[in-house]
């Protein structure tokens, strides 16, 4: 079966006064039907730009998608989203309808001057061509299914009247109101407290199986992807450094960056006695030019070739790839 979304060699650069920022630099991945792909990385690694590129939301200038293909298996066959005009009819019928997105900060992504109910109704009327009365019913149902108590009253609430967790539930209700095939969640729980985060994650997992949606879950928190994803890509400075199933990634990490990230987590060692092992140095700015492997200035295992040769994604085991020269010879296996 064709994957729902195939991203091929996507390159999104930003041209600013500071120079060229290679936010996303030649990445490829697939998202299968009803699967969850976790995208992990630190700030500035290009994970959000990847999501925005898929939706055609890169503002240009300064951004530009240089090359690549984003093949989306839509309700009407496979289309390359990059070939569509971002403001065109087709893109607008896909965005929010077939591919929906949840943003990090629900307070800034909801419109403060409309009630939350009206905002969901707007999306439903626009995409599903339903009359207002039915759209209202649908919106109330959605609010109910995301676990908002007294949905009829909350329908008339403005975003500022709701708590952070409730607002994020409204965002989820809105995103799922058109029954999308792909849900992109960009750090949806980062602004929430841990106990509320646990509620929202549980809700997302539940709704995902109920609505048979695929999900792309973007986060910097390795703990969350361990819980929610089927497959994971780890990004660093616009490149994918490792791609694997959840179990392979956490029990058998191959790339030194992934290993470093895991070792620097205070939750990794449950006895709490071991000292944290941080990755040395800092993430370079995307405007800096790094020759060879993007991670080599911080890599504890770097050797002479690392500063000149750009590593491909090498196969480590089946469906487990790492962009590290140390894995280059295992390519023949």
């Amino acid at each position: 079966m064709e994957p729902l979304l195939q991203v091929r060699n996507l390159k999104t650069y930003f041209y600013t006064e500071e120079g060229t920022g290679k936010a996303v630099d030649g990445i490829s991945f697939n998202i299968g039907e009803e699967k969850t792909l976790g995208v992990v990385g630190e700030s500035g690694c290009g994970k959000s730009v990847t999501a925005l590129s898929i939706l055609g939301l890169i503002s240009s200038p300064p951004g530009r998608i240089l090359e690549g293909e984003i093949l989306y298996n839509s309700r009407n066959g496979i289309i390359d989203l990059l070939k569509q005009k971002p403001t065109g009819e087709l893109m607008r019928s896909i965005r929010g309808n077939e591919i929906a997105m949840i943003f990090q900060e629900p307070m800034t992504s909801l419109n403060p001057v409309y009630t939350v109910g009206d905002q969901i109704v707007e999306a439903v009327m626009l995409h599903q061509r339903l009359p207002k009365s039915q759209a209202k019913e649908k919106a109330t149902d959605m609010l109910k299914s995301v676990g908002i108590p007294a949905p009829e009253q909350r329908f008339k609430a403005y975003p500022h009247e709701l708590s952070g967790g409730m607002r994020q539930r409204v965002m989820i209700a809105m995103a799922l109101s058109c029954n999308p095939k792909l849900l992109i969640a960009d750090e949806p729980t980062t602004a929430l407290d841990v106990t509320i985060q646990a509620q929202v994650l549980e809700l997302l997992a539940e709704l995902k199986s109920q609505y048979k949606t695929s999900m792309m879950f973007i986060t910097h928190d390795l703990g969350i992807v361990a819980n929610i994803a089927d497959e994971i890509i780890v990004m660093y400075l616009g490149k994918i450094v490792e791609k694997a199933s959840v179990k392979d990634l956490f029990y058998n990490p191959q790339h030194p960056y992934t290993q470093g990230l895991l070792n620097s987590l205070p939750t990794r060692d449950l006895s709490g006695k071991k000292r944290l092992v941080p990755i040395s140095g800092v993430v370079p700015s995307p405007y800096e030019k790094v020759e060879g492997c993007v991670f080599h200035p911080r890599c504890p295992l770097a050797f002479s070739d690392c500063s000149s040769v750009v590593p491909d994604l090498y196969v480590c085991t089946k469906d487990h790839y790492a962009a590290c020269l140390l894995k280059a010879n295992s390519k023949e296996d």
Binding site: E42, S43, S163, G165, M166, D193, V194, T195, I196, Q197, A198, Q199, L201, E202, H220, D221, L222, G223, I224, A226, N227, V246, K247, F250, G260, L261, L262, N263, S264, L265, P266, T267, R268, L270, G272, R275, L276, V277, P278, I279, S280, V282, V283
Partner: protein
């Protein structure tokens, strides 16, 4: 004679804020941000103060440093081997004591003055407290700069030239340059990236060993404070729900809230996802506190007693106290 005195002793600390609902309304309500909190920190020890947003942990930190004036209660700090009550001191009286108590803020982007070079940022506390001669001050700035892992050439630069992790190092250096006895660290790593968090946590630990001071370490993540604290206090809606030695609290949490908080943190292990306790509902509004136990609305073990009577902190082990009617 002074060996038994703690470095910091806080007794029945309360901090209430008056909230006006509408701009011109006379109706006021009281927000009980901190409502009867008692704890002590020994010399060279770290107390981790954990809770969700709005639980009053930051208010405790700021009251302890007297950045707020407490509504009631008592704050004592040990200076020259005797306890000094700082609860009601005026700003002028506090000034000479301030070099013994410093703070590191969460966000290094807003806590450094963008128009001051790192050198002048670090020199300012020494200058304000008339610390030593000019040469001694210069030497002290260099010493502290090296201790936090920065270089001499950084002194002439401005905050915007540094990354988040480096800026936090500068903020740490500024807090430590006067050799304080107590450092309040208010979420010092939550604004940083994962790989940088570990660097800064290790640095905070090393500096404590080198300069021997105490931390009040405020954070929302239990695992972050675990690495650095000997004792942990878990706060909920202005009160301490549970306090105890780090290992005891992790191995056998006694309060249902601590249990839920521990289990809610996602672990980087795909097979450990099953036994999560998901709390229902939101944290109640601290202006309208629920009757009885503050936690009973979200507690899955709540019974009738919990709605009627607020539990007091009681001892359940050595130095381990919990505010719950039941034993778990």
């Amino acid at each position: 004679m002074s060996s038994n005195l703690p470095l910091l002793e806080v007794k029945n600390l309360k901090k209430y804020f008056n909230i006006r609902h509408k701009i011109f309304s006379r109706q006021k309500s009281i927000l009980k941000a901190v409502d009867d909190v008692t704890f002590r920190i020994e010399e060279g020890e770290t107390l981790g103060l954990v809770g969700e947003s709005g639980c009053g942990k930051t208010t405790v930190g700021r009251s302890v440093l007297r950045l707020y004036k407490p509504t009631s209660g008592q704050i004592q700090i040990k200076l020259d081997s005797s306890m000094v009550d700082i609860t009601n001191l005026s700003g002028r009286e506090l000034m000479p004591l301030r070099k013994s108590m410093q703070i590191i803020f969460q966000d290094p982007y807003s806590s450094l003055n963008p128009r001051m070079t790192i050198g002048s940022t670090l020199r300012e506390p020494l200058f304000a407290h008339k610390w030593g001669t000019k040469e001694e001050q210069e030497a002290q700035v260099l010493r502290i700069l090296k201790a936090v892992g920065l270089k001499e050439e950084h002194l002439k630069r401005f905050p915007h030239e540094f990354s988040g992790g480096q800026r936090q190092r500068i903020a740490i250096a500024r807090a430590l340059v006067l050799h304080p006895k107590l450092v309040v660290a208010d979420e010092p790593v939550s604004a940083l990236d994962v790989s940088i968090q570990a660097q800064v946590l290790n640095l905070l630990e090393d500096l404590q060993k080198e300069f021997n001071f105490s931390y009040l370490f405020v954070a929302h993540n239990l695992f972050v404070v675990r690495h650095i604290s000997q004792k942990i206090a878990v706060m909920y809606l202005g009160r301490i729900a549970e306090m105890g030695p780090t290992e005891g609290l992790f191995n056998k949490p006694r309060h249902p809230y601590t249990m839920a908080l521990l289990s809610a943190i996602p672990l980087p292990d795909p097979e450990k996802k099953m036994n999560r306790i998901v709390l229902q509902g939101d944290v109640p509004n601290p202006i309208h506190l629920p009757r009885g136990c503050r936690f009973h609305l979200r507690c899955r073990y709540a019974e009738k007693e919990c709605q009627e009577r607020e539990p007091e902190l009681r001892e359940v082990g050595e130095g381990h106290t919990v505010a719950c009617h039941f034993d778990f």
